[in-house]
Amino acid sequence: MSAPGTPPLVAVEDLRVVLPTGHRTEVEAVRKVSLVVHDGERVGIVGESGSGKSVTARAVAGLLPTSPRVRVTGSIRFAGQELVGAGPEAWHTIRRERVGMIFQDPLTSLNPTMRIGRQVGESLPGERDRRARTEKVHEYLRQAGLENPDRIAAAFPHELSGGMRQRVLIAIAIAKSPSLVVADEPTTALDATVQQRVLRTLDDTVSELRTSLVLISHDLAVVAGMTDRIYVMYAGHIVEEGPTDRVLEDPQHAYTRALLRSVRSLTDEDTELYSIPPALRRELTAEVTGAA
């Protein structure tokens, strides 16, 4: 955690993102979201599909489409530097040196015509000597849990399995020694057993490097074991936030309780599959639109 007085690593205030959905129509994907990430803190953002968690993360990384119809208002400060309305150079620097992104789909996130070694090497900051570079690439691949890094570095992405590719993406993300890693549903494209191992790797590397982590997931089980604090989002709105243990054990908001109940009905036997009742949906919609 940061010492009092210094600004948190990421401070988002009253963030609103409006995205076009059709020729004349648009949707307010993120409404008045405020969140902070401190140095070395691991933060989870949970919510169902369409709750605005990915859009929030993309806004923080400056990756929303650059169309005049995409409107971002509010404030995003990275280590005290205001980024809403900042020029492309400021974004480039932040993305190049400070933030590592891990996307949902490891199968399409690697350039198929470039060997793994070069793709990892590209994000190494200013290492000119080729041999030292190769060494470092191997080191990061090993750190991301890949055995035989020299073999992996010489391979093309299609020669690796999904889990291995996601580990490569982790290696790419940590190779620049970022202050923040944003993982957007990093394991949804993988099967359950691989999921666990990849998550553990991500957890280990992030803890070892003392990097802050923003982990976005619809899966409460994923977020539970890996984060210090979570934000629960619904319809572009943060409905609850707090230390992970507290939120999971003693949820305050009706939506969080419903979300937890639907997860438990999946794991516990003899329970009918629970889905959020329509009455609660209406209530939530009223709350969110009223609050926004």
Binding site: R95, L107, S109, R115, R118, R151, K176
Partner: protein, 306 residues
């Protein structure tokens, strides 16, 4: 498209059980050697590379060995064989010499036009497809302008104003032929700009031009290479058409020009049309087949699970 999918999938594999080799050698572990190994692993590639190399060598060093192509010292319309391997033409010139010198012109025109087209197409098509928006609209209009420009009329005008030499013909062919390749580059760039790895590259803070160069263009290459290899063949054919209209360097007749002047003697000297015709046929076939195998080799995911 896939001529030999089996060899394509198997050849890169033996590389990987041999680790240690890559990091210890001075060469970068991500060097570009091994695709070539799989490229030359196909029988069709070897055959047509040999064809192309033989024809190129004949055009390149042949002139040191053949007779003078303009000396009319021999009997007219001598059939192939004996002293004159390909016979003599209607004016009594050694036909082998004429075909060899003609190859220089045709191959030069074909390959330099293709290279120019590829360069212009990658720049224009890449920028238009990747950036989109106003730039795209403007560049597409420019490409359309050059595409509807009638190449033969342009060539006639240029020949009248500037005289007809090879440089002018190559320039005019490239000017009228690049939009076809550029369209393919643009379409590919548009598709690739939406893909995950381009977004990852953006998220990693790479600049647009860098992404265009190292992510978009390499992945757009397979269909572009095939289109470019077709351009070689088309340029050779169009050049012979121009030669027929008298636009061309009469001092340096290309294969096309030889073919056209053989027309009136087709009954008395079949070999006059056969040999330059075969040469054009072989070169066009070879570049197309090689373009296709290049496509298969440099697209490592082709025919496999992505």
């Amino acid at each position: 498209m896939t001529t030999q999918p089996v060899t394509a999938t198997e050849t890169p594999r033996p590389e990987h059980p041999a680790p240690g080799a890559a990091p210890t050698s001075d060469r970068e572990p991500d060097g570009v050697r091994s695709p070539w190994r799989s490229f030359f692993g196909r029988p069709s590639t070897i055959v047509f590379v040999v064809v192309l190399v033989v024809l190129a060598l004949a055009a390149g060093i042949g002139p040191f060995f053949v007779a003078d192509p303009v000396a009319t010292a021999y009997p007219k319309l001598l059939p192939p064989g004996g002293e004159h391997l390909l016979g003599t033409d209607m004016l009594g010139r050694d036909y082998l010499a004429r075909v060899v010198y003609g190859g220089q012109v045709s191959l030069m025109v074909g390959f330099s036009v293709a290279l120019l087209c590829l360069t212009i197409a990658l720049v224009v098509g890449g920028l238009a497809g990747y950036y989109g928006g106003i730039l795209d609209a403007a560049l597409v209009k420019v490409a359309e302008f050059f595409q509807v420009l009638p190449g033969i009329v342009l060539a006639l005008v240029a020949a009248a104003l500037l005289g007809s030499n090879m440089l002018i013909i190559v320039t005019i062919l490239a000017i009228t032929m690049w939009p076809g390749v550029a369209r393919i580059v643009r379409a590919e760039a548009m598709r690739i700009a939406q893909l995950g790895y381009v977004e990852s590259a953006r998220a990693a803070g790479f600049h647009n031009l860098r992404i265009l160069w190292s992510d978009v263009i390499p992945n757009a290459m397979p269909p572009v290479l095939v289109a470019t290899s077709m351009t070689v063949g088309r340029a050779i054919l169009i050049e012979s058409g121009l030669a027929y209209l008298g636009i061309g360097d009469p001092g340096n007749p290309s294969w096309g020009a030889l073919l056209n002047s053989a027309q009136s003697y087709i009954r008395d000297g079949w070999w006059l049309a056969l040999f330059p015709g075969c040469c054009i046929f072989l070169v066009v076939l070879a570049v197309n087949v090689l373009g296709d195998s290049l496509n298969d080799t440099f697209n490592p995911t082709l025919g496999r699970v992505k």
